[in-house]
Chain length 532, copies 2
Amino acid sequence: MKQIPRDAQPLRNVLFIMCDQLRADYLSCYGHPKLHTPHIDGLAKRGVRFDRAYVQGAVCGASRMSTYTGRYVSSHGAMWNFVPLSVGQMTLGDHVRSQGVRCALVGKTHVEADTEGARRLGMDVTQGAGMLAMQGGFEPYARDDGIWPPGFKVSGNAYCDWLRERGYVSDNPWHDFANSGRGSGGEVLSGWQMRWAGAPAAIKEAHSETPYTTDRAIDFMREAGDQPWVLHLSYIKPHWPYVAPAPYHAMYGPQDVIPAARSEAEREQAHPVIEGFRRDTASQSFSRDEVRDTVIPTYMGLVKQVDDQLGRLFAFMEEQGLDKDTLIIFTSDHGDYLGDHWLGEKELFHEPIVRVPLILCDPRAQADAGRGGVSGELVECIDIVPTILEALGIEPPTQWLEGQSLLPMLRAPGTAKGKQFVVCENSYAFRDAVRLPLGQPVERCHMTMLCDKRWKFVHVEDLPPMLFDLETDPLELNDLGRDPRFAAVREQMLERMFGWLRERRRFPTMDPKAIAAWNRREVEAGILIGAW
Amino acid sequence: MKQIPRDAQPLRNVLFIMCDQLRADYLSCYGHPKLHTPHIDGLAKRGVRFDRAYVQGAVCGASRMSTYTGRYVSSHGAMWNFVPLSVGQMTLGDHVRSQGVRCALVGKTHVEADTEGARRLGMDVTQGAGMLAMQGGFEPYARDDGIWPPGFKVSGNAYCDWLRERGYVSDNPWHDFANSGRGSGGEVLSGWQMRWAGAPAAIKEAHSETPYTTDRAIDFMREAGDQPWVLHLSYIKPHWPYVAPAPYHAMYGPQDVIPAARSEAEREQAHPVIEGFRRDTASQSFSRDEVRDTVIPTYMGLVKQVDDQLGRLFAFMEEQGLDKDTLIIFTSDHGDYLGDHWLGEKELFHEPIVRVPLILCDPRAQADAGRGGVSGELVECIDIVPTILEALGIEPPTQWLEGQSLLPMLRAPGTAKGKQFVVCENSYAFRDAVRLPLGQPVERCHMTMLCDKRWKFVHVEDLPPMLFDLETDPLELNDLGRDPRFAAVREQMLERMFGWLRERRRFPTMDPKAIAAWNRREVEAGILIGAW
């Protein structure tokens, strides 16, 4: 392994780890009293932990497309799951690959290919640049988006094939073995029904998704050779189905479940959109203590398994000397209500959903001052791409990137500033239970959260806003969105949102330096407009 | 020629004519007292003339990209001339070609190819879909963007080659012959210097740009055969260089020049951005009567030549029976200050720039009721693509299109409504004379005009707005942007702008019908989230 000096030189590699549906507060370094995650905590000790990091979308797809493009949801337009990422958008992979850095994926991205755009442009999507564009710019070293319902016949999926080779034979071994238990008569206890969350997965732990995914990351690092790389290691867990293999299925019990953040009052004064989401099956289920007591221990077990696997991976990297020249990033794509606010799943803007873990570890000496530090500054997941580019010594294309590098905050954690406010968006256009009773057309279901250090404001098209005072009401139990005493706060947040929206207007296909040099170029070209 | 019934059946063809830099008020049907344009007026008599049609960008490139995509400038991102049109944007050509309709170009588009996007996607831009994407979706039957400065060696341009074949031999016959006169010693009097605007072009009229372009349109129609088509006939004139061939160079004189719309007062109370543009060479020149008296008669001659050529084209179409099954659209990409408001060129939002001629003639019986009518409704050039699609019987992809078809206004001109307000945008990022004294970074030079039937409001980032009352001040001599009496009007316009910006957020890569059907699809797929 080539020796890289531990100084301000660019780093060789980036390991960009993401969990799916992991709440920040389900890690011990973020304060969970029962769930100990020593390996992730260790990363925080070697690096900086961001205590107020926010995602830009409140569902997987939109959030990830923001994180991968470094652009807000309104800017990339992939507003929800399964909305294709336009071929016109640039991603992390595009920015690093052009500089000789490999950008590979192990795990999930939720990138929906813009096949219509590809057809229109006559692209060859079976190989090379066209194929990469369909993968959101990631080389699919071991892509696995998982999440197949029972009865779905899975073919051409490497993990399912690998499972079958190991004796887990069915049309859908992902569902039938890795994400389901077994009843006393050998019947499949589907992970899609949460009542079975307490049963162990019908699979050896080593064959379950999280170790499998970790193995592929290790394979990649072994095979990578001398070319610098960014590896996106993207675990599907602790995303549902909430099923864990033994021993993780039984590590925690109802006594370890922290109480739900909810009140009777918030049910009565509910915003109509929240009310809509409360009608959802997941919300109905998670409002019951029986469900929480069954599911949350398993959720915790799945997080614990991720932590153990990261321990294995970090040990491997240390053994290989990769820890010396690799920036490590750990984050999530959004959280999980788990019954907080009488809600299940995600899609709204309470802290359990939009606040995610974000830990950065830069091995260079220049980051020594910040090690073990905690930043309370506001940062966003769109800051990750600029951070990766700076770490690799790549000039950021500012016409595309809407975030800012976090490296200054690693070097000087006390002084470097974060954002004035963070933004998260979602649309309930895809949710009939919310949309239809409100009579909203799909085009008018947009919600935008602006959150500063104190106030969280959610603009809802054609409906009242939501407003929470995080200082006096950190659990967000009291929606001040219609309280006349806070009209001035709402007005100020609206003003900021207007300014933020105006800033989204960019010249993405033109370098600002070229724009600034335009007049000189025009004169040099002999173009004399309006001369007498 | 196949007989098409003259009823509510879709039309076969669309002739979409555009002039460059043509003000609405320089046509007799729009009220010019001296410049008679009988052929364009005739089209208006056979169709409907829109008296308040507005472009979406205040320079060629941005305006045209809006007209061709049916999307606002902020939505397509090609904010100024020479900013590439992202490969992610869909254009008129994409929408009609997929339905079997040819979409060809004769003349100018100002489309800047997104070569960087094409490289990133591995596209073959030498042929087929890739080539078309680089042409903004137009088949370049006879593309000619013209506008080459003296000294520029033009190669590979069909018009220049054609000129050379006819004895106009030079590196740049476009400039040296078609757009310049000759001095008494045979020296080139460059059209790039407006002092020579009165001299005839050093070219036979039949060889000048406008007849050449018309010939190519006729060639296209002759060759088109049975396939339905949209032909974009896009004249470069009356855009500068202001040089006309004989006899058009001498048809009008200073006595035909209408007075400039300007006042001493507006010079004193100037908005800093307007002040910046007034420092521009073109503004300095056009503020002098000598310049106006020399240039405007030639500008009028160039318009007159377009009108004569359209007369020739319309006669050809009638002779061929093409008038029976072709929707004809006539418009422009923006106007020309010509000294109004002490300004030259364009880039700001006074009526001479943003209000353009728009005439539609639908030969079908269903449009008979409106023939010869004038609509005072507010309409936008982004309405042209939806209009073309409706005329051809093509379902509009509403996730892409931000305009609305004008055909209902042809059928029932008295009752069908236009827009509540129209929008036009520009950025002065490329203009050092404006930007540098204001100390603005290129990212913060955006200007947005909102204009309703009475008020024209221009939001200027970080600077005071502009406001004109078109009812009491139709010449826009009195900027009320800083007048405290009109704070409420400005507030209301800002509110509308905020709403308009929010509406720009779309799912462009997903059909709204698919979104609305999502829940059903999810249930059918067996996806049961959060079930107990």
